[in-house]
């Protein structure tokens, strides 16, 4: 029997298996940030031990940081203390830190790939659920809790049971105006926010293969929103070309590529569950509810108790009450107050290019606040080199500085209660972007339309 991509990587990383229990899984690369690591370092200090493999650990500050005036001290005391704790812990334990002010600083799931640290065949973890992003390179990458961060810091290993295997195949050509965010929101709307819980999810098919690395990362990023343990895509020429020449790309690149080429699911690999979707069925998507599975085409109507799937039925009224939306109403034309383009889902250079190409020569709607937050210092520098910041400026937007920003309401960038925010991030949970904030998840293109019109619109009605 053939092996799946996941199994090929997993088996190479099992140190040993405990009888009747989990496997000891070796972790190649560990990313850490300021929010979920301090208690883990405390644990090490309490045991009197040092980080076991500091060279396999990379740190950055992203969750808490402001996205304006990063050269000034962080105003909020607790945020500042957490960032200071990270600096202290990294220095004491010999861990490389790309902190505020460093040219490599940025959202942890943006900087790993862009530095070439993320590579096919690796096991990668981070105390952040969107670690699944790195799976776009054909790696096993998943989010962990702080106790597990402590395990990896102290032993470079984790105890995990092998998940079940799922494959999601998307075949065909994408419609005009449809981008990878729409693909993943569409899949979520079909299989629900818990549809992949307990599974490692491989994305495959011609529509996935046709995507750039940035676009693949958007899809794997949101595999956690389906509940997936991780999401992964077999590496190919697109992957190799992306990595080539990056800072931490393998020295003997040809040798590495030869090995990476073995990383695919064999034709007779067996999956516990498989879904097939047709790319032609996918339209620009947007969410109306309070979990990422509650999505509809921008031209669609909000489900009713009669039309909604079983999974979200019981939560529909609670969700809509929070969102201030009505059953059966169209979503197109819905007024928005804020537009947030950023987060580990959609803050890469390609996302900013997409938005810039659309807004060039247009003007921001007067009653909308627009925040564009690059994923990293490198993305910011690249955007400036390409004049993207000027395009934004002329349209009335500001390109801010890198960080998690309004994705999660723990830094200065919060959406006020009751306000609607169309957001390229990954979660529309109650209060996610700030207490009482109402989130509509969408692609960078759909967000750009809202930035210009102040409303939810259909990007296909514009010249593309």
């Amino acid at each position: 029997m053939g092996k799946s991509l996941f199994e090929k990587i997993w088996e190479r990383h099992v140190v040993k298996t405990i009888e009747g229990g989990p496997s000891v899984l070796y972790i190649d690369t560990h990313f850490i940030h300021e929010v979920t690591s301090p208690q883990a370092f405390n644990g090490l200090n309490k045991r009197g031990i040092k980080v076991f493999r500091p060279k396999q650990t990379v740190a950055t500050a992203d969750h808490n940081v402001p996205t304006l005036n990063q050269h000034l001290p962080i105003k909020e005391e607790l945020s500042r203390k957490q960032v200071e704790a990270l600096i202290k812990n990294c220095s004491e334990h010999g861990v490389e830190l790309y902190g505020l002010g460093h040219p490599y600083q940025g959202i942890v799931h943006v900087i790993g790939p862009e530095l070439g640290i993320t590579q096919p065949g690796m096991t990668i973890v981070c105390g952040d659920s969107h670690t699944s992003t790195h799976g776009a390179f054909g790696a096993i990458a998943f989010g962990i809790g702080t106790s597990e961060v402590e395990m990896v810091l102290s032993t470079q290993c984790l105890l995990h049971s092998k998940p079940k295997l799922m494959r999601i195949i998307v075949e065909g050509e994408l419609n005009k105006g449809v981008v990878s965010k729409d693909i993943v929101l569409y899949i979520l709307s079909k299989i629900s926010a818990s549809g992949a819980t307990g599974y490692a999810v491989e994305f495959a098919g011609s529509a996935i293969r046709s995507l750039s690395m940035e676009a693949r990362m958007t899809i794997c990023n949101m595999s956690i929103e389906m509940g997936g343990r991780c999401g992964l895509i077999a590496p190919d020429e697109t992957t190799f070309n992306y990595i080539k020449g990056r800072k931490f790309a393998p020295q003997d690149f040809d040798k590495a590529v030869a090995e990476w080429k073995q990383l695919y699911s064999d034709a007779d690999a067996v999956f516990d569950k498989e879904y097939h979707f047709d790319a032609a069925d996918i339209q620009p998507m947007i969410t109306y509810g309070t979990n990422p599975g509650m999505g509809i085409p921008v031209t669609g109507t909000i489900p009713t108790t009669e039309t909604i799937n079983e999974t979200d039925k019981s939560g529909l009224n609670k969700s809509l009450a929070y969102m201030g939306l009505e059953q059966g109403a169209p979503i197109k034309g819905q007024k928005v107050d804020y537009v947030f383009i950023g987060s580990c889902t959609n803050s890469r250079i390609e996302d900013l290019r997409m938005v810039a190409a659309f807004v060039k020569g247009k003007q921001k709607a007067s009653d909308v606040e627009v925040w564009i937050v690059p994923g990293s210092k490198q993305v910011e520098a690249q955007a400036k080199a390409e004049g993207i910041d000027k395009v934004f400026e002329e349209a009335g937007f500001v390109l801010r500085q890198p960080g998690c920003s309004a994705c999660l309401g723990m830094n200065e960038d919060k959406i006020p209660a009751g306000k609607y925010c169309i957001s390229t991030s990954n979660r529309n949970f109650e209060g996610r972007q700030g207490a009482g904030a109402r989130t509509l998840l969408a692609s960078p293109l759909t967000a750009a339309v809202a930035a210009i019109t102040g409303k939810v619109g259909d990007v296909r009605e514009w010249p593309l």
Binding site: Y26, E76, S129, I144, P163, T197, R229, N291
Partner: protein
């Protein structure tokens, strides 16, 4: 080293809401601590209080109804989805819950709970609905050794799954780090032999 876990008999708090995500359990703005202590007071913060004001509890939220109490939280399916923040498990434990019962748990939350000595008990959907239909006086017994959860008044019982390794850890209060540190030789051998 977590607290050893054996059998718990207690009343329970029914939280009949599906897809409870970790942003609800503990909103991100409370993740700024550098220790593990004191998260319980912010458990379900935005469901518990009007406008983030502790003097204005929302009367209809279950934690604000004193007739419901106990060491067991019973929640509807897909509990703990979303962010990997272990602070969710810490806040549940710090509030006083040692068991969470649901018909379905998100993966990362389940691991985080187990790593903190909070037992996630997965029951069938009918059993869960049965629990939601019981009054506030009802008590449950969770026996980790036997892997059973029982409604004390009626004796109705269901068994639950937990892997043997984790069960031993919970019963004895062992933690994974102790184990991993004990096999460091194996880890180094792996590193030396890996391709």
């Amino acid at each position: 080293m977590a607290k050893a876990f054996t059998t718990i008999s207690s009343r329970f708090v029914p939280l009949n809401i599906e897809n409870v995500d970790t942003d609800q359990i503990i909103p991100a703005r409370f993740l700024k601590a550098t220790t593990r202590d004191g998260f319980g007071k912010n458990l379900f913060r935005d469901w518990r209080y009007e406008n983030d004001d502790e003097t204005k509890p929302k009367a209809d939220f279950i934690l604000n109804q004193p007739q419901y109490s106990g060491e067991i939280l019973v929640a509807a399916k897909n509990f703990g989805c979303g962010s990997s923040r272990e602070h969710a498990a810490w806040s549940i434990q710090d509030y006083g819950f040692n068991v969470v019962v649901s018909s379905f748990f998100a993966d990362i939350f389940k691991n985080n709970a187990l790593n903190n000595g909070v037992l996630p008990v997965t029951v069938s959907e009918p059993f869960l609905q049965n629990l939601f239909s019981l009054g506030n006086e009802a008590t449950l017994t969770v026996n980790l050794e036997a892997q059973t959860i029982t409604i004390d008044a009626t004796g109705e019982s269901e068994s639950f799954e937990i892997n043997a390794y984790k069960k031993t850890c919970m019963i004895n209060g062992y933690d994974d780090i102790d184990y991993l540190l004990s096999i460091k030789e194996d880890i180094i051998n792996y590193e030396n032999s890996a391709p």
